[in-house]
């Protein structure tokens, strides 16, 4: 591998980490270093993190709006029926249904494919003949892999919390349409009030897991920035 290409590789590593928008770089890595299109395809380092962060933020907003709507439903209803907060809850739930398809799909795709990117990267590392450079690159790889693993693990926790939350939300909403059963324990021996408390608590757990992903992203971004600052490519052009 030419020296300049190694520098280009070093600068490209953070982008590979997140997968989003960096597929051309991966294609370059696996397809050889002679491609003249590398420069034009290469996204700015860290863009993937920004995209993933935006995804998490969007999901957080949608879940927070739903939790807020649930809390409004928990307020005593001075009118008869329906609860005045119900239309707001319906809007929040519908919005969550729709936006979560994209967010969850993208997150699941990252989880499914992320490891493959690192496998490719690892293969590429084995081709570096300069021992000192190989050591430095391996260290970078290990550090970023650790961050990636944390983001992946926390994203998995979001997935595990989110799916039952959506189920509970749908079931709760369906039950509100049967007012005659409102005070009667459902099949799970819960009253509507208990069901509301359970679904609200579930939503708050989703929010916590999303915040944990954000924290992991912050740490990863800080690491990427530190690497960029110390990357050998910073001093010379490829």
């Amino acid at each position: 591998m030419p020296h300049g290409s190694r520098h280009a590789l070093a600068r490209s590593l953070p982008a590979i980490l997140w997968g989003l928008g960096s597929m051309a770089i991966l294609a370059w890595l696996t397809g050889g270093c002679a491609s003249p299109r590398v420069g034009s395809y290469a996204p700015k380092p860290g863009r993937g993190i920004a995209e993933y962060r935006a995804l998490v933020r969007e999901a957080h907003q949608a879940v927070a709006a739903t939790v807020q709507a649930l809390e409004a439903l928990a307020q005593p209803n001075t009118r008869t029926s329906p609860h005045p907060a119900l239309p707001g809850f319906d809007r929040a739930l519908h919005q969550l249904e729709v936006t979560s398809v994209k967010s969850r799909a993208r997150a699941e795709a990252i989880i499914a494919r992320g490891q493959a990117y690192f496998d490719e990267w690892k293969e590429n590392l084995s081709g570096i003949t300069n021992r000192a450079l190989a050591q430095a690159e391996t260290n970078r790889y290990a550090r970023l892999l650790e961050h990636f693993a944390r983001v992946r693990q926390r994203s998995g926790e979001v997935r595990e919390e989110f799916r039952p939350f959506m189920n509970k939300l749908r079931e709760y909403r369906a039950r509100l349409d049967r007012p005659s059963t409102a005070s009667i324990p459902a099949t799970g021996s819960e009253t509507v009030k208990q069901q509301l408390e359970a679904v609200t608590a579930s939503g708050k757990r989703v929010l916590q897991t999303l915040e944990a992903v954000s924290t992991a992203l912050d740490a990863a971004e800080a690491e990427v920035r530190a690497m960029q600052a110390s990357a050998p490519g910073k001093e010379s052009s490829p």
């Binding site: 294609a27 319906d90 799909a105």
Partner: protein, 178 residues
């Protein structure tokens, strides 16, 4: 003979007019799958597959919209629900088959971006498919009512619209179609 009668009764039930007077066209799951037209090049074949997937996605979205409108009718009952649910499942399954074909073609190009897009869209369909599970559970628990059907059909329709948008965007981004 008995089986012929059963088949005839099933066909009659399937062709029964809907609450709003419309007649539905049902997807036959036993009919041979119509393969996407092969083109002179792998790229052309892929473009055909993408176009066929888009068409099927639009059919699913429209079926969801029609379902929601029908379910709004006061005389909408369990029989209508079963027909609509079966139709929707079949159309969705047809989309799955069509999308899987497109995904196979896209992956043959060996483009990582295409593979990522495929993984994302595939996950999207799985997530939308969760609505079937919800409706099945509600139905089996005897807890399904018209309002829930209307809401869920709307969620199907809008989620499919979102999925179609992502499909178009990804198709353009990875250069699959245009």
């Amino acid at each position: 003979m008995k089986s012929h009668l059963l088949l005839a009764a099933t066909m009659l039930a399937l062709l029964a007019p809907m609450p709003n007077g419309q007649t539905q066209v049902f997807y036959d799951p036993f009919a041979p799958q119509q393969p996407a037209l092969s083109g002179p090049t792998p790229g052309a074949t892929l473009r055909n597959a993408v176009a066929a997937t888009q068409n099927q996605a639009a059919i699913v979205r429209k079926a969801a919209g029609d379902w929601g409108r029908r379910a709004n009718a006061a005389n909408y009952n369990a029989t209508f629900f079963q027909q609509d649910f079966g139709n929707m499942q079949a159309q969705f399954q047809a989309l799955r088959v069509q999308f899987n074909w497109t995904a196979t073609q896209a992956q043959q190009l060996g483009k990582s971006r295409a593979q990522n897009a495929v993984a994302e869209l595939d996950a999207g369909l799985n997530i939308i498919g969760e609505l079937f599970t919800f409706l099945t559970n509600q139905y089996n628990a005897g807890a399904l009512d018209r309002n829930t059907i209307v809401r869920t059909a709307r969620a199907f329709e809008d989620s499919m619209q979102e999925w179609e948008r992502e499909f178009r965007k990804n198709s353009a981004r990875v250069g699959l179609a245009w």
